[in-house]
């Protein structure tokens, strides 16, 4: 019984701390939607927008394509312009969402997978909720330059064929990038998603001085990769690092205990 009460208490504190965390402003949950379905199927998932502020907001709903460049940066394109786009399959009941003060809205995102869709390729796009400015946002000042700041949420949309279950990343390279203008040294870890699902991972890099045994542990970097994607994860080494070092890169994939480890000796 006491354990039960303990559990209730823990839950209570946890929930109350969470609610205070998201006490103000506008929130969206989740931030990524993963659809699973075969060609010809229609699948739906909800996303919740909450407004805990005292202002009313209106959002326009729109889609774009995107791909990730090798440096990890997402680049947006017109909806339907990329090969792996599913923007045309995505729909919502509403083309704009009105979110009055202190309210929540559940928006159902529907994925209509066409009959001729691939049964092996993961497709993606991004659904945007873009704030529409109101008349009263305009400044009262009469002269000068005025900027009206609006904001926008991007919701990742992924559609994975149900038979795709291979979760795998591969370390393909470890190389030093030296910049002639500065004496700072960077190390790029080349990673490829050789599986067939979207893969989240944390990349860690550790440098060990081969003479003194001294360890340098760098801050881990998070990545998320589409199947077939290649990415260079760049770590900045501390300034003034000199000598012979053993670099060990560890890629920890989310949702599995599977690891990828790469090793290379660097003469700096």
């Amino acid at each position: 019984m006491r354990t039960y009460w303990h559990f209730i208490l823990v839950c209570f504190f946890f929930i109350s701390s969470l609610s205070s965390l998201f006490a103000q402003g506008i929130s969206m949950s989740p931030t990524r939607l993963f659809f699973y379905g075969n060609p010809g199927e229609t699948v739906s998932l909800p996303v919740v927008l909450s407004n805990s502020s005292n202002s009313d907001y209106v959002f326009d709903v729109n889609t774009k394509d995107w791909l990730r460049e090798e440096d990890g940066n997402k680049v947006y394109f017109e909806a339907g312009s990329l090969e792996n786009s599913n923007a045309a399959w995505v729909s919502t009941m509403e083309s704009s969402v009105s979110l009055p003060a202190k309210s929540n809205r559940e928006i159902v995102v529907t994925m209509t997978i066409p009959e001729d869709a691939s049964t092996t390729e993961v497709t993606n796009s991004m659904l945007f909720f873009t704030q529409i400015g109101k008349q009263e946002d305009f400044a009262e000042q009469q002269k000068g330059i005025g900027i009206i700041a609006l904001f926008e949420f991007g919701l990742h949309i992924y559609c994975t064929p149900p038979n795709n279950t291979t979760k795998s990343l591969d370390i393909v390279s470890m190389e030093e990038i030296s910049d002639e203008n500065t004496d700072s040294v960077k190390v790029a870890i080349g990673i490829e998603n050789d599986g067939n699902v979207v893969n989240d991972a944390q990349v860690e890099l550790e440098f060990t001085d081969t003479d003194s045994g001294e360890d340098i542990v760098l801050n881990p970097i998070n990545i998320s990769m589409l199947p077939g994607a290649k990415q260079k994860v760049v770590f900045q080494l501390p300034p003034g690092i000199k000598g012979s070092y053993l670099g060990v890169a560890i890629v920890k994939m989310a949702g599995t205990n599977d690891l990828r480890v790469g090793e290379k000796t660097f003469e700096l």
Binding site: G133, A149, F153, I223
Partner: protein
Amino acid sequence: MQTTLKYCRKKRATNIVAALTMLLFGVSKVAAQKATTTINLILADVIAIEPGSAAKGGTVDFHYENASDYNSEQTATIPNSLIITFTHPFDLKVKANGAYFENGAHQIPVNVLTISRNETSKITGNSKPIVLSTEDQVLVSGADSGSKLNLDLDYTIPQAKSSSPDMLGKPEGKYTQKVTYTVSAL
């Protein structure tokens, strides 16, 4: 003598209470060790934005009144431009909704403005100053997750721009444009 006794009783009472409390905690601890409970923490994947100070109702103003205004760099630092809570790593992009700050038919190109992260920001990740355009540009990439991370922004109009025909010789008035900040998961 009476008072000492009273004091002793009081002290004993306190001791008993203390002992009982300890016992209670002790027992509950023992109970907790015996029982097995699986506690699943299901963490929601959430992003929250507070428009923050939102710069006096969502706007940032630059004043150009006299010659020295045009011949100097102007920077407006907006603390807490956005306050972001994110349970996953994220990035932040910025774009102008139009190519010009507009005042009726009169226009000033948006590229007179540079936006950069002020060092006082709690939002981590890579960031470099960007010259505003209608293209999505990365303001902060690979930022770590966190709660109530403030982003303090510097809006700068360099002297090279304010003393150029982009701005010089334009009719007096209020030139405005909307700027959209986009947040998305990594």
